[in-house]
Every structure is written in C-alpha cells, then in structure tokens.
Symmetry: C2
Subunit: 195 residues, 2 copies
DNA sequence: TCTTGCATACATGCAGCCTGTATGTTAGAG
DNA sequence: CTCTAACATACAGGCTGCATGTATGCAAGA
C-alpha cells in the first residue's frame, strides 16, 4: 500500500494544484492579472487562500505556472503542425508552424495572458527566457534548418527569430477581418530572407 | 488683473500637475507601474494624495498622461530626424526615423513604460490608439510616402506599419552588444518590401 | 474700493479590499 | 503512535478611491 498511499498524497497535491492553475488560467484570461484576486482564484478552485499559498510562493508564481503551461501548449501545437508532412522541407515546416501559432493564438484569453500581461508581470527578461525554451525555440530551430538548407540567408539566428516572433505576436492580435492583410504584409517582409 | 489672476490660478494648477507627472514618470520608469504607489508619487511631487486625485481620476489616468507624453517626445524625435535633409527621399527618411526611434528608446525607463507596462495597464487597444496618433502615425506616413514613390511594394499600410513597428519595439529591447545583429536581421526583413 | 459669496485647489480622514505570513488543525505515512 | 505534509483560519500592513473639510483666489455688487 506504500505506492497507493504515497500516490494518494501526491495525487491529492497535484489535483489541488491543477484546480488552482485551471481556475487561475480562466480568471487571468477573462479579467487580467491585476483585476484577479487570490480570494477569487481560491474560491473558483474550491479551496482557501491557504492552499494557494501552500503551493505557490505568491500570486506571481501562480501566474508564472499558467504562462509556462500556455507556452507549452503553444510549442506543442507548432511542432505538431510543422512535423506533419513526411518530407516537408524547412520552409514549408516554417509556414505550417506559423499557421499553427496564429491558430492557437485565436483564443483571446491566451493572447491576454501571453502577450499583454506576461511581459509586465514577469518582466521582459524572464518571459524571454520562458519563450526561449518553448515557442521561440521552435522558431529558432525552424529558421536554423532553413538556413542550413540555404533556403534563407545567413543571419544572426536569435535576433532574427526574436524579430519574426515579434511580428507573429503582433499579427496574432489582429481580428479576423484584417488578418489577411497582416498575412500579406508578413509574406512581403519574410520575402527579404530568401537567398 | 483678471488675466493675471486667472492665470495665477491655472498656473498653479499646471505646475502641480507637471510636478505630479514628472514624479510619476520617474517612479514608473524605475519601479514599474504596479510597484509604484500613489503615496509615493505624491510625496515625490511634494503634495498629498488629495492633489493627485484632484487632478487625475485614478492611478491609471496618471499613467496614461505619462505614456502620452513619452509617445509625444518619441514622435517628435522621429519627425525631427526624418525631416533633417533637404531632399531626403522617402526611404532615407524612413531609415533616419528608425534610427531616431532606436536612439530615443535607449532610455530603459522609457522602454519599461511604453513597451512593458503600458500594454498591460492601458490595454492593447487603448495603447494602439495612442500609438496611432503618434509614433505609428509617423511610420504610416513614411511607409505611405515610400509606396507613393514606388520605392516599396503596394501593401496594406496599417498592418504593415504595425508589423514593422513591432519589429522596432523588439529591436529596441536589445542591449547594445547585440544591437548590430538586430539591425542586420531587420535590414534583411525590410529588404522584402522593395519593389 | 471694499467685501462678500462662491468656486477651485488642495489636505485629511475613512472604508474596504488585497496580499503575504503566521499560526492552527486534520489526515495520511512510516 | 508519532510526525509530517496538506490544507484552513486569523492577522498585520499597505494601498486605492472617495467623502468630507479648509483655505485661497476671484468675480461682482455696493
């Protein structure tokens, strides 16, 4: 019963944490970080603030966990889309990854959390570090592969990826009506990378 | 004495407001919006919180004023730099404006206020509206002129400007050491706009 | 010109909320 | 049976926004 027992403890722990993170994600998405209070999150998760502060150092730590999760989902979506075809070629993989990013970013709550609140709450440096482990990493890998294949010019990889990422972030904020215009403009800009 | 008297009142008013905005700008720049309290701002300005709330509806309104001022300075710097040469040509004007933007953005406090805190505090929509009246407007005008001169391709103007603006914002976050790499990558991307 | 009444620029005080921590309490694990 | 971990409860401090007080211009009439 050791295993069962130990798991029942850690299961409970993880379940509580998951409920907190889930409730927090919903509230942060709807009302933003500043307008969401910890009593609110705890109530939505069906626990007290004591539980929240038992599992997370502070409100920011809870937000950080939400951000990490969202970034993880994002990176997985991108990689799944970029790796669908058998022999896609690096350029096609990039385009598919970009589409997957824009699709995943259709969720307004995700946009608010990742693009609006996260830089201010976590600070640009920390958010950049998180990004570097997830979405940006996929972009760097994709651009690097394209460079190796001589499909695009040789350029400083991370700065280029950061710039392209910033463009994608901005495009993700566009409403559906103007999205085609953003795509057109992005295509023109990315055109400059071709060898 | 009507004029003198009336001016003495409004002079006092403007002086107090200016001191509040100046103190707020300094504190927001150093510690960010969330970590700056209204007692702190009032003390730094040498008044009480009563004065602050007499002149500004709330803490956010004070921040909004600071943001507007910073954006105004930015737009003026850009336009001054873009309009120096006699017959610059639209492309050269764009390059000079871009340089002026990056130079003005060297101030870390300005970066924090405009690029980190402003989107979260004011919301992306309102900040976009402010931007549209100032820095972004200069970019739209510049790109529009370049399009009219057939120097760059015909593309949806505002989306293009927003994307290029996002690139510049990101480049402005780079430290001095990696700035040349960002410039290289930006040059390549902008290259795609050429006719 | 004097003073009188009002509006405006502030100061002070108050109510409510929120965050983070410190201290209980219960239940599982060894 | 003890001990530790997962919570709940209670508390202290700070902050925001408003409501109320006060004093100083300021304009108009006697």
């Amino acid at each position: 019963m050791q295993e069962a027992n130990r798991r029942s403890q850690s299961t409970r722990r993880e379940a509580t944490k998951a409920r907190l993170v889930s409730a927090a994600r919903r509230l942060f998405a709807e009302k933003g970080f500043a307008a969401t209070s910890t009593p609110e999150v705890a109530a939505a998760a069906g626990v007290t603030r004591g539980a929240l502060y038992h599992h997370f150092a502070d409100k920011t730590a809870l937000f950080r966990t939400v951000v990490e999760e969202e970034h993880l989902i994002l990176a997985m979506s991108i990689e799944a889309a970029a790796g669908t075809d058998e022999e896609p070629g690096p350029v096609k993989a990039l385009l598919q990854g970009g589409d997957a990013f824009l699709t995943a970013m259709q969720d307004p709550g995700r946009r608010r959390i990742l693009l609006v609140d996260a830089p201010a709450v976590l600070g640009r440096d920390e958010l950049d570090a998180i990004d570097a482990r997830h979405s940006l990493r996929t972009l760097i890998e994709g651009l690097g592969a394209a460079m190796d294949a001589k499909a695009i010019r040789d350029l400083p990889l991370e700065p280029l990826a950061r710039l392209v990422g910033a463009m994608f972030d901005r495009a993700a904020m566009a409403d559906e009506a103007t999205m085609p215009d953003y795509r057109k403009a992005m295509r023109a800009l990315v055109r400059g990378l071709k060898t």
